[in-house]
């Protein structure tokens, strides 16, 4: 491929283009009917096929990038950049700069996969389908932008852009207390973003650039705030997104009330923006502060793991249960990061990918079951597997992957994190093991009560999974979870390549005697 071809920009803005195309579809409410007289049904047809085509095209681009990605080169690849605002005289310049490295490439691919899955599980949306798919695709663009931005301002831009589709998707297509949940999600994130923006501005003005590549290793002595304060400001935003205890309470509400596809994307990729940000920004730009904060991060991680697991036990709504288990699983990311070594940080990055797939699949299964039973209450679902063997088996599989069964993806991430973190922080790691044990308990208990048990006649008329879109979504996720579990090197090598410069920087700082500051 021609190196100057802006493949990354194409990838990022392709979903936005698809969204625009859907928005321009002549719909039911167009004042002047076109000659083909679109009915609501055909609008739905066209919208979903365009959405599927766009997200598939984006996935293929991401896959091609993944394949031709140079696994031996340092730094960012597929870089697209030009000076966007060049106001050097005023002391700032903002560059349009995007690129991927070993850390972001797997996450970009994950976004591509889960976006396709999200479109597939939304196939039967009939409430305002046009707008629905528009916002879904805008969401994809914003997430891809976050994972590839090399400029703090663009990072922030896409970080904020994601809120708009999320707010609308939850509050229009959600269920339950959806307005409350959507508002809470937005306010919570914006609260964190305010701190993040403040941190970015201080950083940028101190170093005279917003470019992540140039900021790395830059002297922050001129900053108006101490590095610890900047670090904490930015950490607040990422901690909310990840989320960690005690900043997690938006998550169960947003998950429970969001439509299935949005839950999939929320758990699968949006939470990952927090973990990605910690690795990409905090530890890359301020390694010395990060290296000092390792014990605090390990403790917060361990507390999240155990606290999340304990709260999960008592949940009676299946979606809420999965949401709380995410709090527990995201604690592992912090634990891995706190190891400050290649093993632990790669494990943390791998956890982002595997948790995206596994929890994404859990939400897909619960969503598909909910479409049929119209309940997510564990107590009401008994005996479902007799009527829906495929959906039941899928839920069991995803659950087993979630509790860290070896040879499935989650186990590899967990053990890598444990191995990496154990040499640094024994006590938090040992406490976290409790989370592994509790995970077996809450997942199997939930499965036992929800889908197993004697036949229940009230489900007699329900059908098992029967649509190709459902087969495709379940099949793809199952295959990927097994593939990463059996052959983790597929992304592990890339992630290692991605975190190595971060670790080298931390070690360099440590060798200088913790200088900088």
């Amino acid at each position: 491929m021609d190196p100057s071809f802006p493949v990354l920009s194409l990838l990022i803005f392709l979903p936005l283009g698809g969204a625009l195309l859907i928005a321009l579809l002549p719909g039911k409410h167009t004042p002047t009917h076109a000659f083909w007289q679109n009915t609501p049904g055909t609008v739905q047809q066209q919208a979903r096929w365009i959405a599927l085509g766009t997200s598939l095209a984006a996935l293929i681009i991401a896959l091609v990038m993944f394949i031709i990605f140079d696994r031996n080169a340092d730094g960012f690849q597929f870089v697209d950049e030009f000076a966007w605002i060049d106001a050097q005289s005023l002391g700032f310049n903002i560059g349009y700069a995007f690129g991927v490295d070993g850390l972001s490439m797997p996450l970009v691919l994950l976004t591509g996969v889960l976006s396709v899955v999200a479109v597939l599980v939304s196939w039967k949306i009939d409430l305002r389908p046009k707008e629905y798919f528009v916002w879904l695709l805008v969401l994809e663009t914003s997430v891809l932008g976050v994972f590839t931005a090399l400029d703090l301002i663009f990072f922030f831009l896409f970080w904020e852009l994601e809120l708009i589709p999320m707010f609308l998707l939850i509050s229009i297509w959600g269920s339950g207390n959806r307005n409350y949940s959507a508002m809470k999600f937005v306010l919570y994130t914006v609260f964190g973003s305010a701190f993040m923006l403040a941190g970015f501005l201080v950083l940028g003005s101190a170093a005279d650039t917003f470019d992540i590549r140039e900021l790395r290793g830059a002297d922050l002595g001129a900053a108006i705030l101490p590095a610890q304060a900047i670090f904490s400001f930015i950490l607040i935003a990422f901690a909310i997104k990840l989320p960690v205890f005690p900043l997690h309470t938006w998550l169960p509400d947003a998950h429970t009330d969001a439509p299935t596809a949005v839950s999939v994307l929320l758990a699968g990729v949006l939470l990952k923006m927090g973990g990605y940000g910690i690795l990409r920004l905090l530890f890359t730009l301020m390694p010395e502060v990060g290296a000092d904060a390792d014990l605090a991060l390990a403790i917060i991680g361990a507390v999240s793991i155990v606290y999340g697991a304990i709260v999960t036990i008592r949940q009676t709504d299946l979606k809420r249960l999965i949401a709380y288990s995410s709090v527990s699983h995201m604690g592992f990311v912090l634990l891995g990061v706190s190891a400050l070594g290649v093993t632990g940080m790669s494990g943390a990055a791998l956890q982002l990918v595997t948790h995206g797939l596994i929890t994404g699949m859990l939400f897909v299964m619960v969503g598909l079951i909910y479409d049929r039973t119209h309940t997510r209450q564990i107590g009401e679902m008994r005996g479902l597997i007799h009527y829906m063997p495929l959906l039941g088996a899928g839920l069991v599989f995803a659950g087993l992957a979630g509790l860290g069964l070896p040879a499935l993806a989650g186990f590899v991430a967990e053990i890598t994190i444990f191995l990496g973190a154990f040499g640094q922080h024994e006590a938090p790691v040992l406490v976290s093991m409790l989370g592994v044990l509790l995970a077996a308990g809450y997942i199997l208990w939930a499965l036992q009560r929800s889908i197993f048990g004697p036949r229940d006649e009230k489900w007699a008329g329900l059908t098992d999974s029967n649509h190709w879109t459902e087969f495709a979504a379940i099949g793809a996720l199952t295959a990927l979870i097994i593939l990463l579990g059996v052959y983790p090197r597929l992304v592990m090598d890339l992630l290692e390549q991605g975190v190595t410069p971060i670790v080298e920087q931390i070690e360099a700082v440590a060798a200088m005697g913790g200088g900088g500051g």
Partner: protein, 645 residues
């Protein structure tokens, strides 16, 4: 050496069978059961090729140990090999796994049918059975702890799926979950243990860990714990072994696991998976011997289990549950042997136990299949109606009780000999009591099941001999029960090409020959006969009148035995009264304190403040003027104060 070096083919075959069955099983005729049976048969045949190449290597003086493999994960300091080892301990296990798996596969094709019609999910049963065999063989052949752990969890998963095979039954689902979570508790210990070993030695390879432990290199880095680190790591590994092998206090899952189909109980919960813990400790025994105190813990746990489970077996009336507690007790015997450092003896008892216990389970399955009854009190008089089942069952019971010349006698006798040499007299006496109990509960079970008058007419009417496909494995296993015991003798071992009897074979670098003492044999034989006699005295005839009298005499004691020392109740209490209430409190804290007070309260406060504050926007100029005056006055006053007037 080809076959010993390519032993990975053995687990690969059932793994492929699993994939085929999983994908196409339900569309194949007979649910594809022939694929599973075929895979098991191939493994059984290939075992002899592996054995031959292994024995050749011993004969050639190469030591009989073959390693092969490739890197699976190779990442930073984290290296895991997909490596396989064939040595004498592995050979014994592969023999057990392949033989019992083949028998159980054959048996299942008859057992999972009613009046010629397969049960629902017949194909799924065989798919999981094949997966189990693949995982079990991987576990046995793995040369490093992490691959073993992966397989370890894999067999646990198959056990979970097969215990819960009848998932219409709430009790089966409950039992499956209990088995998984209880063993998981031990597995977390094993997991921490292997991380500790990895940290000290930088390797998961069992041979590296043993070498490091023997060289005294298993330490934490600042060396604050000294030998404590080694003991801690070793005991954590033992925690996993005890969980899998259902040792007290983790034994509670195994009797409940009897909810699964009976052939599964024979394969997984008697002959193969539950002995994985014994196998793991046997493999790592040099580490246990170096770690101060570790061997004594193994010995203590094994002895406690052998005794307690023997007593619990006495209070059970469900045939399968009696056998389950008996398995727990016999596993305790194996751990005692390991505790005194006798690997060969433990593996020998593992071998003999696998065959007679599998035979007993399959025999009980034959009874359950035909009579649809598994409460021994409602059976009785089956001897005449099911002669083949009864004969094989009784022969296996005698073997279990340890009466010569059946295999159980030899292996148990070896355990006594080893214990006499390696532990104090109290241990030997307590072990003797446990052996007495084994004879007692087996004789009791045999008497009330097969002898005496039939208790329930409908049950005895249904009792007929089962199909040949069910009887052939019974007979085959009974023959093995006769034969394998003689492998204790060096002459027999040499006749088959081994370097000697099983003891000198397994430990052949340091030959440890069979020590058969007439005195010990006489004593253990007498103890077993005494157990039989006691059972006969208490349970023979008249509805076990004497046993009932004994129970009426000590009702409280009887209740404790029948309730299995209240282990299950204690756990249930802990879950209901401690874990769930704690979870409820934390969940309440999460909602009420973190969310409603921490998050919603500031939000509400902001909203109320905004609600009231908007009233200052009145749109009337006099109000604004007033506010302006007040503001200027306040600012002026403040400035005045700050400047210190």
């Amino acid at each position: 050496m080809f076959w010993a070096e390519h032993a990975w083919i053995l687990p690969a075959i059932p793994a492929i069978a699993f994939l085929v069955l999983f994908a196409f099983g339900r569309f194949l005729p007979r649910g594809g059961d022939f694929i599973s049976v075929g895979a098991a048969l191939t493994v059984f045949i290939l075992f002899f090729f592996v054995l031959e190449s292994h024995l050749d290597s011993i004969a050639a003086g190469l030591g009989g140990i073959a390693n092969a493999g490739t890197d699976w994960v190779n990442f930073d300091k984290f290296i895991v090999r997909l490596g396989f080892t064939v040595d004498s301990i592995a050979i014994v296990m592969v023999f057990v796994v392949s033989t019992v798996a083949l028998m159980v596969n054959l048996y299942s094709t008859g057992y999972l049918r009613h009046h010629g019609k397969p049960e629902p999910r017949y194909w799924w049963y065989f798919a999981v059975l094949s997966l189990f065999v693949a995982a079990m063989l991987t576990l046995v052949l793995a040369d490093n702890l992490l691959l073993m752990f992966v397989a370890w969890e894999g067999v646990g998963l198959c056990s979970f799926l097969l215990i819960g095979f009848y998932y219409e039954r709430r009790s089966a689902v409950e039992a499956a979950k209990k088995a998984f979570v209880t063993t998981r508790l031990g597995d977390v210990g094993l997991f921490i243990g292997l991380i500790l070993f990895w940290r000290a030695t930088g390797s998961f390879q069992i041979s590296d860990i043993i070498a490091a432990a023997e060289a005294g290199r298993v330490n934490d880095l600042p060396q604050v714990m000294g030998d404590g680190y080694l003991t801690l790591s070793t005991l954590l590994v033992f925690l996993g072994a005890a969980g899998k092998s259902a040792q007290v206090p983790f034994h509670v899952w195994l009797p409940d696991a009897m909810e699964g189909p009976t052939p599964v109980s024979a394969l997984i919960h008697a002959a193969t998976m539950v002995v994985a813990g014994v196998y793991l400790v046997a493999r790592m025994l040099p580490v246990f011997e170096v770690a101060p105190g570790a061997s004594n813990v193994v010995l203590g746990v094994g002895l406690t289990t052998a005794l307690l489970a023997g007593i619990m077996a006495l209070g059970q009336n469900d045939i399968k549950r009696v056998l389950a507690y008996s398995t727990v007790s016999q596993l305790g015997f194996m751990f005692v042997a390991l505790g005194v450092g006798a690997v060969g003896v433990a593996m020998f008892h593992l071998l003999t136990h696998a065959f007679f216990k599998a035979c007993l389970f399959l025999g009980s399955g034959s009874i359950i299949h035909m009579t649809e009854e598994q409460d021994a009190r409602r059976l009785g008089g089956l001897w005449w109606r099911m002669p083949v089942t009864a004969t094989t069952f009784i022969v296996s019971s005698i073997a279990l009780a340890g009466i010569p010349p059946l295999s159980g006698f030899f292996s148990k006798d070896e355990i006594f000999t080893a214990t006499l040499g390696g532990a104090n007299t109290a241990v030997v006496i307590l072990l003797g009591v446990a052996a007495f109990l084994s004879a007692l509960y087996m004789a009791r079970l045999v008497i009330i099941t097969f002898f005496g008058p039939p208790k329930v007419l409908a049950v005895i009417r249904r009792a007929r001999e089962a199909d040949p496909i069910i009887l052939i494995p019974l007979v085959f296993l009974t023959v093995l029960t006769f034969l394998v015991g003689f492998f204790a003798f060096d002459q027999v071992g040499r006749a088959f090409g081994f370097p000697g009897g099983i003891n000198s074979y397994i430990y052949f670098p340091e030959p440890e020959t069979f020590h058969f003492h007439n005195d010990i044999a006489a004593v253990t034989g007498t103890v077993s006969l005494l157990g039989f006699g006691t059972a006969w005295w208490f349970f023979w005839g008249r509805n076990s009148r004497r046993a009932e009298a004994l129970r009426a005499f000590q009702p409280r004691l009887a209740a404790i035995v029948e309730n299995k020392f209240y282990f299950d109740e204690a756990y249930q209490w802990a879950i209901d009264r401690a874990v769930l209430p704690l979870a409820r409190i934390v969940a309440w804290f999460d909602r009420m304190i973190v969310n409603d007070t921490g998050i919603n309260a500031p939000a509400d406060a902001t909203r109320y403040a905004a609600y009231w504050l908007r009233y200052h926007v009145t749109g009337r100029i006099p109000d604004y003027a007033l506010l302006m005056v007040v503001g200027v006055a306040l600012a002026g006053g403040l400035a005045f104060l700050l400047r210190g007037g």
